[in-house]
């Protein structure tokens, strides 16, 4: 009850101060919780202006029409003794009130059309980001930069469940926001991995559905450095309310610095084929690679499938023989076995090392390093 009362009290104060502010300054409109968020892109600014323009047209018509109605309700009451007239048509009046609304619509349609043409123009971008929606997170991929990462809700569960006080950006905070440079035209390609999501940043005036199996595009050009928050706008399952969109707009220099760091991180995360591994680590990794790629035919226990002419790897002469022969077979395939060149040197070294040590195999050269695979790949 106390919480409710406090809420209502705060509300009252906000209504009062809000009313005072919006009466005095148009700029204050933008920061009240009853209009669009302050726009930071040209398109969002146009939407903002367009909305207010139509809003005031509606207000004028509304006041006019219902002014007439309330005048009639007041003056033409039976209780003030008004006698009913019996007219029931007037062609001139009827034509007039059909044509005038049509003309008003033309005045609305013209600026709206201009904005549509502008917001659909995704040509000549400065950079392109591919956004993929998943249940329930976003993936951002900087095309041509080799940088890609996921962006998930950062609000702790305890806050949602009411076990901890909610912080300022409750439900609108993520671990890794999308980062873009200021004043750059960013083209956004959207798709989804499971169901339809919708990527929405109110301050940018961008809302575009992400549709699985299709790619759609949109664009924005943020003109002010800052952090902008939005949410998924299309029902996408139980965590739909918990997949915010956060975009951090940085100055060009800060952005370049950030991008440089991201590239270094990406390079560090990739496997270095010259790294020297110890046998236990490679065997552990190799087991995973084997089960994911090889076990379908050779079986998890390495027994093969004699009926399908798939050899057992237990005691197999190639597995037990010189490493280079086995690397050659794995890289290039043999008979029914396909080439596995698509796997990385480290994965191939791991899976080969695994087969040479698993199921009782004790090959003489039990450890194969990624560098050996790399060398064989080059032949």
């Amino acid at each position: 009850m106390i919480r409710i009362r406090r809420g209502i009290g705060a509300l009252g104060r906000k209504v009062l101060t809000g009313a005072a502010l919006c009466a005095t300054s148009a700029a204050a409109w933008a920061d009240r919780p009853w209009n669009f968020q302050t726009p930071v892109t040209p398109i969002a600014q146009q939407q903002y202006d367009l909305h207010l323009y139509i809003f005031w047209i509606c207000v004028v018509i509304f006041v006019g029409v219902f002014g007439v109605m309330f005048y009639s309700l007041f003056k033409h009451r039976r209780s003030v003794g008004h006698q009913a007239a019996q007219f029931h048509e007037n062609t001139v009046v009827e034509v007039v009130w059909t044509v005038i609304p049509f003309l008003i619509l033309l005045f609305i349609a013209y600026p709206a059309t201009k904005t549509i043409l502008a917001l659909k123009d995704t040509t000549a971008p400065d950079m392109t980001v591919k956004v993929t929606g998943y249940q329930w997170k976003w993936n951002y991929e900087y095309l041509g930069e080799g940088v890609s990462y996921y962006s998930e809700l950062a609000t702790p569960l305890a806050q949602i469940m009411g076990q901890a006080p909610k912080d300022e950006h409750y439900l609108l905070e993520v671990d890794h926001p999308l980062v873009v440079p200021v004043n750059a035209k960013v083209r956004v390609l959207l798709t989804a991995g499971d169901v339809i999501h919708s990527w929405w940043v109110p301050a940018f005036g961008v809302k575009q559905d992400a549709i699985p199996g299709f790619v759609r595009d949109t664009w924005f050009k943020a003109e002010k450095v800052g952090i902008y928050r939005g949410q998924c706008a299309e029902l996408c399952g139980k965590e739909h309310g918990f997949m915010p969109v956060v975009v951090e707009v940085k100055s060009k220099e800060d952005y370049d610095k950030w991008m440089g760091e991201q590239k270094k991180l990406a390079a560090a995360a990739a496997d270095d084929p010259n790294k020297v591994w110890d046998q236990a680590a490679l065997v552990a990794r190799g087991e995973k690679v084997f089960n994911a790629n090889c076990a379908a035919c050779h079986q998890a226990a390495g027994t093969g499938n004699p009926a399908a002419k798939i050899p057992a790897l237990v005691g197999d002469p190639v597995v037990m023989g010189p490493p280079n022969d086995q690397i050659h077979v794995v890289l290039n395939g043999r008979n029914a076995m396909p080439s596995w060149k698509s796997l990385s040197d480290t994965d191939l070294a791991a899976v080969i090392t695994y087969t040479r040590n698993a199921w009782g195999n004790k090959a003489s050269a039990g450890l194969v390093q990624p560098a050996q695979v790399l060398a064989e790949r080059g032949k």
């Binding site: 009639s72 033409h76 059309t113 439900l171 699985p212 309310g241």
Partner: protein
């Protein structure tokens, strides 16, 4: 007929010695349009309460930020079933209930054209309702992809979704049969001398609505059948991996869905057009243009569907076409509003409860119309699509629009139905309480949407907390207000009130007021002649 005493009629006995069943079997086997109309209206009110409880569950969870009452999955089921139940279980059957009760009496017909099919149209509804409600209790939970049922999310739902699909099939069959019945009745059973352009406007509204229903219910049935086969039989209508397209569903659904919006509102327009002249004591202004406006709205409704899909990434030409077509709807709708105002102008107006609900309708429906115009502007819609602004908009047109018109209709005709006047004081309390609480609930949702709160979320950011609290308080107030309505109606049914004369409204001119109150079980066995 003239020898029948009102007492016998009041208990609904047949004045002919047909040996009709009594008790429950009377209702199961009845082919009487008045009995069937009554059942439709009670069914509708029951579903209104069920759907209303779901709405209150939603509002309770949204009372403050955080998850307190339900889990997100159940929350999604609530929004989904609230929508489906209110649209298919509450509003549409209420409109058909009015059609059953009033169309034969308004055109001087003895009954509906296909009386036995009429019985069947109604009795399909309870099984459909049971399927919808029990979907909450099956493994996997109720449908939770929203009433719009967009795939691929729908494909992930449990078997509750299958029950929903079957329920929609059944309700669609019921609607189509009801529509065939209404069209046939209106076209063939009008009293001698009643030309189409002399028909009460409610009949015109329903004639056009019925054609809309026949045109689009099969489209919905097709859409949900494709969902069903995608779910269980390996088809890929809406699955890109198999050559389909998830957006195809949205096109098909909204090709049904937009006319559906007018299916919901046109009968309400009809009711308003009967009541406003009666309490203004003046003929309806611009009858012919009212008919043309109804037809114009109906035709436009087929070419505007993609305005529900402005954020899916339509081509520029598509955006412009659907924006212009949508804006055009403002013209015939404006004509209707202006005609209603002109009907009141220089009338002799009184403010009984039916009139109050009409005025509430006029004021708030027009407000909903304006937000509709705002939403039709595609660049603005980008910001508002799938936000609480849309929720506010469609509740203004469906609750303050259709529902208020139906309340007006009940208060207007209940003296004819029961033979007892409703309690004017209760009616007025019901009106003012509903009007104020409705606005407390839904007006702040405009602000929430503008400020950026998406719809269909069980929890929200802190800046949305204040208005959500207001909306939740309003919602419970609105819900409780409807118990006043129930009480007022029960008082009439149990004859606790003034006895109604044949024509309690001095401004009313239509045929139903020429028969006694309550209306005899059979009316107009000999057709009246219209001059």
């Amino acid at each position: 007929m003239s020898t029948v005493t009102p007492d016998q009629l009041g208990h609904g006995h047949d004045d002919h010695a047909h040996g009709h069943p009594t008790g429950i079997m009377r209702w199961v086997t009845t082919t009487n349009h008045k009995d069937i109309g009554t059942m439709y209206l009670w069914f509708s009110f029951t579903m209104f309460l069920v759907g209303g409880c779901m709405a209150l569950t939603i509002r309770a969870e949204l009372f403050e930020p955080g998850l307190q009452i339900v889990n997100p999955e159940f929350f999604n089921s609530m929004t989904t079933l609230h929508g489906l139940i209110m649209v298919f279980g509450a509003i549409m059957p209420a409109a058909v209930g009015f059609a059953n009760w009033m169309i034969p009496m308004l055109i001087g017909a003895p009954d509906m054209a296909f009386a036995r099919m009429n019985n069947w149209s109604f009795w399909l509804l309870p099984p459909a309702a049971i399927l919808l409600v029990t979907s909450l209790f099956v493994p996997g939970g109720g449908p939770s992809a929203g009433w719009t049922m967009y795939p691929p999310l729908t494909i992930q739902n449990g078997m509750g979704m299958d029950l929903t699909i079957f329920a929609i099939h059944i309700m669609g069959a019921s609607s189509i049969m009801g529509s065939i019945n209404i069209i046939t009745t209106i076209l063939n059973l009008r009293a001698p001398g009643m030309t189409l352009m002399k028909m009460p406007l409610f009949c015109w509204a329903w004639l056009i609505t019925a054609y809309l229903l026949i045109a689009v219910m099969p489209v919905l049935a097709g859409a949900v059948t494709m969902l069903l086969t995608d779910r269980h039989f390996g088809t890929s209508f809406f699955n890109a991996a198999g050559g389909g397209d998830p957006v195809l569903f949205q096109h098909v659904f909204w090709f049904f869905g937009h006319p559906e919006v007018y299916i919901i509102i046109l009968p309400a327009f009809g009711i308003i057009s009967e009541i406003l002249p009666a309490f203004s004591r003046k003929p309806l202004f611009g009858y012919a243009s009212m008919v043309y406006a109804l037809a114009g709205i109906a035709i436009l409704s087929f070419i505007v569907w993609a305005h529900h899909m402005f954020t899916t990434g339509l081509p520029t030409a598509g955006l412009l076409f659907f924006m212009y077509a949508t804006m055009l709807i403002a013209v015939p709708t404006g004509v209707k509003v202006f005609n209603w105002l002109a009907t009141m102008w220089r009338g002799s107006i009184t403010f009984e409860t039916p009139m109050l609900f009409c005025l509430g309708f006029l004021f708030l429906f027009t407000l909903g119309g304006f937000t509709g115009l705002v939403l039709s502007i595609m660049p603005v819609d980008i910001q508002l699509q799938d936000t609480y602004y849309v929720v506010a908009h469609f509740h203004y047109v469906m609750v303050a629009g259709s529902l208020f018109a139906f309340f007006a209709g009940v208060y207007y005709w209940i003296p004819k139905w029961t033979g007892t006047m409703y309690d004017e004081r209760l009616g007025k309390i019901h009106f003012w309480s509903s009007l104020i609480s409705f606005n407390v609930t839904f007006f702040p949702m405009h602000f929430l949407g503008l400020a950026g709160m998406p719809r269909r979320i069980p929890d929200y950011a802190q800046q949305f907390a204040d208005w959500n609290m207001v909306a939740s308080i309003g919602a419970f107030w609105f819900g409780l207000s409807q118990l006043i309505f129930l009480y007022a109606v029960l008082k009439c049914i149990f004859h606790k009130g003034e006895k109604a004369p044949a024509k309690p409204w001095d401004g009313a001119t239509t045929l139903e007021w020429t028969v006694p109150s309550p209306a005899p079980y059979h009316t107009f066995e000999t057709p009246p002649v219209i001059k």
